[in-house]
């Protein structure tokens, strides 16, 4: 995805077991922080359908 031009840091991968609740919280916090820092995504956004 980053090869295609998605901003680095917008895409995250993690492996969290159902028993690792604290890790889940950490991951979610980290991801939201990083993505918020990048700002709103301008790519992969659809423009409204043009009405004639």
């Amino acid at each position: 995805m980053e090869h295609m031009g998605i901003a680095p840091g917008r895409l995250h991968f993690s492996w969290v077991s159902s028993a690792e609740s604290t890790k889940f919280v950490d991951v979610v916090k980290e991801v939201t922080e990083k993505v918020k820092a990048l700002g709103p995504n301008q790519q992969f956004v659809k423009t409204q359908a043009k009405v004639a």
């Binding site: 295609m4 031009g5 998605i6």
Partner: protein, 315 residues
Amino acid sequence: MLEYRDKIIEISERLLKSCDVEMVIGFRKGSLPMMNEPCFAKSSADVQQLVWDSNCGINLANYLPNRKEKIGIIAKGCDSRNIVTHIIENKIKRDQLVIIGVPCQGMIDKRKITSTFADEIQSVEEKGDKILVTAGGQTTELNKLDVLQQNCSVCTHRNPVIYDELAGDLVQEQTDVDRYADVRAIEAMAPDEKWNYFEELLAPCIRCYACRNACPLCYCPTCFVDEAKPQWVQKGQEAIDIRTFHFLRAYHCAGRCTDCGACERACPVGINMRVFTKKLEKDCYDQFGWEAGLTPDVRPPLDTYRPEDPDDFIR
């Protein structure tokens, strides 16, 4: 390369006569120059139509999935690798096939040739490593090396990897080529540049799906783009839907693509969508040391687990 033809006809005739196969899949001349078409020869009269030259770029492995009969198939290097992939994926059985291997010296790019001439091309002939093009009543001689398809010019598997018969002597493989120069050029771009590069690349796409139909890997009964429930991607001409189609199709070919160039060749508007599949091909090679379709005895990296598999991207 032309001398392969007699040998191909001889082998095909023998196979059909002895009932070892029910048909031989090969090429015959198309109605336009540089447009050979696939030919399913079932009788010795059909066999006489078979040809071999530098316009046989279509990947014949595309016609194999789920066939029940015994088939003779003419296979150059990339076709044979896709046949191996089909065998690994249980799309055809090895004992159904008689593979007539054809050592290949590259196929010519019809777009490169048509773009060099202002007039309509009347005929294209081959003489050794020269291509004689007649356009507007004049004949011009071109070097074959200059008009090769890009993937053929960096090919390192010209000889078929499996075969039962050979139509000619094996050729020297290229060893000093840089296979991934184009991928590295994209990797070096900044994210915005990359985004714009692909935006421009895909702008002419009309979503005819010729690339998918020409691809031997794309044999799903219902392609994800045709599915309505759930609808993975909308069917319109929105740039983002076009992009989704191309990169998802490329992902489906990860670890399977042999860079045969059938997709690019089939494209009516000349998009080089191989830059998607090639990145994945490069990653597979760099991270798993894998090149698709070299042997039917090893499982591909995406359906095996090894403890040393790279996993730095997972936290």
